[in-house]
Symmetry: C2
């Protein structure tokens, strides 16, 4: 889910955005190293155009710190381990801090053992899963990342939410040979449903179901998202993510989790992550891996297209948006622009003034009353 | 893909089917232990109703042995290893023999290390992926299995086949708390397309594309299958399977593989498998794992259904068919019935006579000239 660039009210350069995240977190008692990790992660995610998981999350994370849902000074510890495996308690850390700690663990263990698995319990929302899988890829590994999430998706033939949107990210390679899949196991995300509703457009069939479990194309009737493919395969993939995260971590299952922004204060949300890491050197060898991966990526892109747009690899659109954002800044929706602007002023970080709305009109009113998670976004393909 | 039981011409008890597979393989020089592994695997798969991957494959495997594509006496060896990881050369073994050897390796290594990964190169068609993941589950592990396959699936927005149907199977638990997902990363399999064509029924939208890469509902116009969800997510999942198998194994990529039955004689097809195994004891603990998994499976089944049929877990339909087949025998399509019957007679295994066709008519002629892979099957949900 990306910000519709034509609707972006404001662009912010990455250095400024990073400074705002750093200072706002530090003011909430987060130590310097953790501030830097979260700032780098949110800014990178926004630059790659995955804006639902980028700097727009900062106000939510600050709120979690204020309410004691996220612990600014966690003691992240290995509860159980072998050489290749570790079970980590994140002590209610900010999810990004827990995700980064898990990534460091799993890369080191994979380098020593050829393969490694790290399961994290007692964490919070960790942003975009591809941040961690891509960090593993930059170390020459194949990275897999999954996280539990609160229920939004109905099982095939079922009524009402049971599973989270339960993302899977798999990454390998770097630069133009990068493969970076980051996908929810639902057909689309809730933001896409809301956006269609706001525009008064019908949903595609297979996206969502109503309270009777029947497919609906009316955003107002949506009771649950549908699994990818709208059948038993997507249901099964969503359950695999629950299995590898909450079940392996002895953590709350999807329907036992509170949604972000709705958890009771004073304790972590109990999110669980699973990080897997594979060292190609132990299998067919590093050189052959790079060669075969390059062949896979290149041949995919060179497949004869069905339309004007070329066939793309997972990660291609994000890399393109990252290059654009480096040139033009991060496009922010009006709500996020206002919130980051206010934080910048509070922390004495210089920022250009916000654009003034030309005149009050109904669409501006709609936008100012919308919840952060329903800010204007375009139904673009986020591959 | 399962045999339409109403169209099943013949039922065979498991003991007889097993004896036929054993004797036919032994006559092709396969050693006793390998004969037993392949027989158990094919019979189990047929009993679970995954008939495209069951005893129907025996004639194909015999042909592979006759043509030197499969090696009856392979030397399966570990090429490279750490404690938790192994890279195995299958020496062109029958795929089921390679898959079983890989499963033994990965379970032992996961028991010692908490997690293990085994990548196999130089193998052949290994039947149903869930055979191996479920074998790991029976050892108390979480099992993941993937295999490379010859290209049938177009990438999103692309023309023509690029990726194989690249299955993923994940299994955990046993008995009524079993979770056993086994799915191709295409929306449906080729058999389903052919069956609709034979019946003159239109395809569902999102199943397949024509030679211009446009969606088609006419089976005769199909040039490629579509990835699950008919979008970039399914394409990405298919590519993940290629990455974890062929790319990690330094083996031919999907479009470089020959289809089963079309490979040149004298060498193996170069199929690669990936087997992953996770020991819950190292993470949240075995008791909590069993409890949470039971909760996941039970709660899913108890979800309020949208229709008369209850919501099911991956593996539920197969377990039900296995119980039926134990009572009534394995339903065989007419072609497979004839082929197994002929093998039984050749090897002096007593079998009931084949039913005589009532009278020659066009549908019988169609059936006798159909290729094994297009034998009558019902478009049933194979969860």
């Amino acid at each position: 889910m990306t910000v519709d660039e034509s609707a972006a009210a404001y662009r912010m350069d990455a250095v400024t955005a990073r400074a705002i995240v750093m200072r706002a977190l530090a003011a909430h008692g987060v130590d310097d190293a953790a501030c830097a990790v979260v700032a780098d992660t949110l800014v990178e995610t926004s630059m790659r155009g995955i804006d639902t998981h980028g700097v727009r999350l900062l106000p939510r994370y600050l709120s979690d710190l204020e309410q004691g849902i996220a612990n600014p000074r966690p003691t992240i510890r290995v509860v159980r381990e072998t050489g290749a495996a570790a079970f980590i308690d994140a002590d209610a850390a900010l999810g990004i801090v827990a995700g980064a700690a898990g990534t460091r663990e799993v890369v080191q263990r994979a380098a020593d053992n050829g393969v490694a698995a790290v399961v994290v319990r007692n964490s919070n929302h960790f942003g975009a899963a591809s941040v961690y899988s891509r960090a593993m890829a930059r170390e020459g590994m194949v990275g897999w990342v999954m996280t539990s999430a609160a229920a939004r998706v109905a099982p095939y033939n079922g009524r009402g939410p049971l599973l989270g949107t339960n993302p899977v990210s798999v990454a390998a390679g770097a630069g133009d040979a990068e493969f970076a899949l980051d996908m929810a196991t639902s057909q689309v995300c809730l933001g896409e449903i809301r956006e269609r509703g706001r525009r008064g457009q019908p949903l595609e069939s297979g996206w969502a179901t109503d309270e009777n479990g029947q497919g609906t194309r009316d955003a107002a009737q949506v009771a649950a998202l549908s699994p990818v493919g709208a059948g038993y395969k997507g249901q099964g993939l969503g359950m695999v993510v629950t299995l590898m995260t909450a079940v392996l971590a002895d953590a709350p299952l999807d329907w036992q989790l509170d949604h972000i922004g709705q958890a009771p204060p004073g304790r972590g949300r109990g999110i669980a992550h699973c990080l897997l890491c594979f060292d190609p050197a132990v299998f067919g060898g590093r050189d052959s891996f790079d060669r075969r991966l390059g062949d896979l990526v290149r041949t995919t892109r060179e497949t004869q297209p069905a339309a004007f747009e070329p066939v793309r690899c997972p990660g291609d659109p994000e890399r393109q948006r990252e290059r654009e954002a480096a040139r033009t800044g991060i496009p922010l929706d009006p709500d996020t622009a206002r919130e980051l602007h206010a934080l910048a002023q509070r922390h004495h970080i210089p920022v250009p003034p916000l654009p003034q709305p030309a005149a009050p009109k109904s669409s501006a009113t709609d936008s100012s009353t919308a919840a952060p998670s329903s800010a204007p976004t375009a139904p673009r393909r986020s591959m």
